[in-house]
Subunit: 181 residues, 2 copies
């Protein structure tokens, strides 16, 4: 697949700390990449419109303009959810940033207690999954929290590449939630 | 200085790629820190409300809700300014994210051609400076662009710490622009 005008991508991140936005921008602009990509900048032009790092309830409301789900716990304003709610929040965040920034693809992430949620959407489809790592923001050691983060970033890039390539059929054998709008 | 409720900080970043927001969140939440801090989490409680990574004109308009200055160049939507305009843009971005997120401190960064601009503000004062490194987004090698980025992050943290500590007087001997509102 080739594209002439870049595919515009925006991110709304929680447990991935804005690293997905930075990775996409690095890929698109030729900075050193931290993750493996199966697509090449010479084949597919993508462009990061912008990213929001939204760990707190305040930032979800003020920057993404949505009302977040009620969290299980509030740590100095930081929202903590269980996995089921994280999956919902990730989708809400992806759709919010897609709409606000008028992008082609929106990405959302959220993780508190469990494997977290990752969501990648465009105006027709929503792809969601968890990371591979179970952790608990309340009491897991930092290295486990960061392992979950790394897994979440890899999953987000995997969903993104499949959405860009139109290889959605290949995802039915994976543990991916696929929803058409 | 000690504080009971955390000092709320928000960031609106361009050439620092969201790394200041991540560093402040790491400092506040006990993740591994990448930069040197002169304050300690046990002395001063700070909290990152949220961060915006806004490399494009679209993201400045849609996420920060301000009209950016006219850029010298537009690279796939990415705004490129000279140093004088970068200093202005950094302040506009810091003030915008401070207001939107109702935080105590706002941080803004922007760099295209020159040393770039870094701005840290609260409701009374605006501190601004350039980085230590001259680079040109149009043709400098990536390592120089990333050196400028690192210097910009260090400068932002320096301004932030002085604003938090109330040690503004010490900045008059430095190359810092100090403005009272």
């Amino acid at each position: 697949m080739t594209s002439k005008s870049p595919i515009k991508i925006s991110c709304a991140e929680c447990f991935t700390h804005g690293k997905i936005a930075r990775e996409i921008h690095s890929f698109a602009r030729g900075y050193p990449s931290q993750y493996h990509w199966n697509i090449k900048p010479s084949q597919i032009k993508i462009s990061l419109v912008g990213g929001v790092f939204a760990p707190t309830i305040n930032s979800v409301e003020s920057l993404l303009k949505i009302k977040p789900l009620d969290p299980v716990l509030n740590l100095d304003g930081i929202k903590v959810y269980k996995e089921k709610e994280d999956l919902k929040m990730a989708t809400m965040m992806a759709q919010a940033v897609l709409k606000i920034s008028n992008s082609d693809i929106g990405i959302g992430t959220s993780a508190g207690i469990g494997k977290g949620g990752i969501s990648v959407c465009n105006d027709k489809i929503i792809l969601s999954c968890t990371s591979e790592i179970h952790a608990d923001l309340r009491n897991s050691p930092v290295n486990l929290i960061l392992e979950r983060q790394k897994s979440g970033i890899e999953k987000a890039l995997f969903l993104l590449e499949n959405l860009i390539n139109g290889t959605i059929d290949s995802l039915y054998s994976e543990n991916i939630i696929i929803r058409y709008k």
